[in-house]
């Protein structure tokens, strides 16, 4: 009799352990989004000094912002190189840039930098630091028409090295009919709700496109950035397992998924 009880307890414990193992190592893997990286040819290489483009090593205080000394030069320097390199390549008149937002990850060398000039020009750049800097032009926004994409009926326009995807079909839907649960905390209400709503439509479109498994995705409100233009936003969502990073154009209702990384990666 006792033997039977011991056997039952043993099998129950073994079954529980097996379930835990499968859930951790298999089910979670199943739930991962297989993200297609942005192709290398969209990235631009930038040398630390480039005589052809006509710039020497950037100064540590390159950005016009008194707070930059609270950001390590390991972040600001590659970001400055990317900004200078892009400005020179595109023959921009602007030479002084205010650092509006910068975040990065020391381990992988990923940096996101958002700058603005006195003339109202704004750059959204994703940078990989290291021995060789490379960057992805998410958006170069200027006041008025003239660049590839219009914003606000010609109030602004922007160029981008990214391939944008429309989410217009999603935004016609009612939020209640959406397939995925996309939420945000009360802290996110500090921002205009248009960014929260529109980002949810774009996420819904992306998750549908990659046939992601169900589950709740929550907006990371601390990481939300909206440029002065008010149309382009840098946004992160997480489902606890992965974090999805996108840039959103709420005027043209289009987005680009920039990266999907593991949530364990405190890269953001």
């Amino acid at each position: 009799m006792h033997k039977k009880i011991y056997m039952i307890i043993f099998f129950l414990i073994a079954g529980f352990c097996l379930f835990q193992f499968v859930q951790k190592n298999y089910l979670k893997q199943m739930a991962l989004i297989d993200f297609a990286e942005i192709s290398e040819d969209r990235w631009t290489e930038a040398k630390w000094k480039d005589e052809v483009l006509g710039y020497t090593a950037v100064e540590h205080d390159f950005f016009r912002d008194p707070n930059q000394k609270y950001i390590p030069v390991g972040y600001t320097d590659p970001a400055a190189v990317a900004v200078v390199n892009y400005s020179k390549r595109s023959e921009l008149e602007e030479s002084e840039w205010e650092l509006r937002r910068l975040y990065g990850d020391g381990d992988s060398g990923r940096i996101a930098v958002f700058v603005k000039s006195d003339t109202g020009r704004e750059l959204y750049l994703y940078v990989h630091g290291g021995a060789d800097v490379k960057y992805l032009l998410a958006a170069d926004v200027k006041e008025g028409e003239g660049l590839m994409y219009m914003l606000g009926d010609g109030r602004y326009s922007y160029d981008s090295a990214l391939e944008w995807t429309t989410y217009e079909m999603q935004s016609d839907k009612n939020r209640k009919t959406m397939q995925y649960s996309l939420t945000w905390s009360e802290n996110a209400w500090i921002y205009d709700t248009v960014y929260l709503e529109e980002s949810a439509y774009a996420m819904e479109d992306y998750l549908n496109a990659v046939k992601a498994p169900g589950g709740n995705w929550e907006l990371l409100d601390d990481d939300l950035y909206v440029g002065v233009n008010g149309y382009l936003a840098d946004i992160w969502y997480t489902n606890g397992i992965q974090k999805a990073h996108m840039i959103l154009d709420i005027w043209n209702k289009q987005y680009v998924m920039v990266e999907v990384i593991s949530s364990d990666d405190e890269g953001k």
Binding site: I190, D192, D222, V228
Partner: protein
Amino acid sequence: MDRKYWMKPVIPIRICIFILGCILVLLWLFLNDGLKRHIPSFTIPEEEWTKLDRSYEVEGEYFYNAGEWHYATEYEQLAAWAVRDYAEKNGLEQKKWFLRHMYREDGSVNAFVCSGTGRELYLLLDEENEKYLVTVDWKVDDLSDYQYSEYSRLVWYDYWEWYNLEQSGQKPEYDFVVAWREDYYENNFWQWSAHALRAYLYSVAPNNRDTWVCMQKSFYMGKNGCIGDVWYDSGKEKIHMLVNMNNKEYTILEVL
């Protein structure tokens, strides 16, 4: 026979009293230790806040850079309302104010503004009760461009002792578990804010053994480069504090 019956219950009663005594001692020790571990919740007293009256309307574009950060209109309006009220009461109405940052954390709404002439205000806002509190009013001192003075009605405590211990390489008698990512901003700030946190924990809960993680994404450093607004989270409680790097002082704004 009588003696036997009389003896029987005495021993268990004595044992019971002894066990009860032990339990009470252990309970006292446990509660005492629990009290020394527990962080009491804290909010700034009502009398420190200024109630906003609706005697005037604040125009939609009060800030020089109104709408630039795309905060929800009601929050930006609330900040504008508070800044204007404070400016009028303190002879600062001529200044142009720039909204530098706003955030919300667990119902606590925070705004940071600066004027073109180096004046900076840190504000706590209460949207529900329409009241505000200026936690820091920073101005450039007349004596020199590099000497600053801050005006604040809050009580500031120093963390020199913890700072000096670190500088001298000595191990403190008490220590707390404080964690932060070192690649965020200047390392000194995190170290010093951790000293401020230790000083606070030592004063209210010396036996606290929670792991306090710095919420570095909620961090704000003013243009002054001296007073940082920082949050620490233990998973059970959150501590919101201001840390002055120059004077090695801190003040607690909230324990939630």
